[in-house]
């Protein structure tokens, strides 16, 4: 791979990581300051997706569709000791995405999904930092 192409992946990874952190921060503000759970859920899900983009680009992959991101995540879970848990926590983030559209979660279910989505983001950002 040419150095310029590799540099493109690296630069994308950096941008995605920054977005992941910013979206998470903004999601927290929406929830705590504005009590806007639906909007916060949508943004936390986007943070989770940006995490996948960041780690994938570190590995010279640039997944496009969400299905492609999930495929990339499957590969990542084979490389970490807590792979199944990471995937389950992603599925909680996915649930927040559904909730943002349908408003279907009660407070206990929302809190659980929120906490596990945060755990997904924490783990992915740690993977990113480890490999940076």
């Amino acid at each position: 791979m040419s150095s310029s192409r590799s540099e493109q992946y690296r630069e994308r990874a950096i941008r995605h990581e920054a977005r992941a952190r910013n979206y998470r921060r903004q999601a927290g503000l929406l929830l705590q300051r504005d009590s806007d759970a639906d909007c916060a859920a949508a943004l936390l899900y986007e943070s989770a997706k940006q995490c996948i983009n960041a780690v994938a680009n570190q590995r010279d992959q640039n997944p496009g569709t969400t299905g492609g991101k999930v495929s990339a995540l499957r590969e990542i879970t084979t490389e970490v000791p807590n792979g199944p848990t990471l995937m389950q926590n992603w599925q909680r983030a996915d649930r927040l995405h559904i909730h943002a559209d349908r408003g279907n979660l009660n407070p206990a279910e929302f809190a659980e999904a929120w906490e596990q989505a945060q755990a997904f983001i924490d783990t992915m950002l740690n993977i990113y930092q480890r490999d940076a």
Binding site: T66, G67, V70, S71, R74, N82, P84, T85, M87, Q88, N89, Q91, R92, D94, R95, I98, D101, R102, N104, N106, A108, E109, E112, Q116, A119
Partner: protein, 120 residues
């Protein structure tokens, strides 16, 4: 120790789900996989001597938290295991999952169920 009664064992629900998937009844299949998850948590409650009031998701979340509280299992061992089943519940009720999400949810739900039953 009483626990909510369900009609089939966890693995019977898993097999029933697979049969429905094979004929394309994904919302029914998803519902059956959620029931398999519920039945698994009933078995976990019974094995740990914990009374389970209902198989509503809130009670299962509380059970999972309780089972993890003493640190005898890794964090998210049971709370994470609820995740694919609850996504499938969403699909059964609202038809919200894409095919790649369904495939992943069935896979991870079945993996969790079989691992739990193997432990018991």
């Amino acid at each position: 120790m009483s626990a909510p009664a369900m009609g089939m064992t966890p693995l019977e629900y898993v097999d029933a789900s697979k049969r429905e998937r094979e004929v394309g009844n994904h919302r029914k299949a998803a519902g059956l996989m959620w029931q398999a998850t519920q039945a698994t948590f009933i078995a976990l409650a019974d094995a740990h001597g914990v009374e389970l009031g209902s198989v509503d998701e809130g009670d299962l979340i509380d059970l999972a938290r309780g089972l993890e509280a003493d640190g005898s299992v890794p964090k998210w061992r049971y709370r994470g295991g609820l995740a694919p089943g609850s996504l499938l519940k969403d699909h059964a009720e609202m038809g919200v999952l894409e095919s790649y999400q369904l495939e992943l949810a069935y896979e991870t739900a079945e993996q969790f169920i079989k691992e739990c039953l193997h432990e018991l």
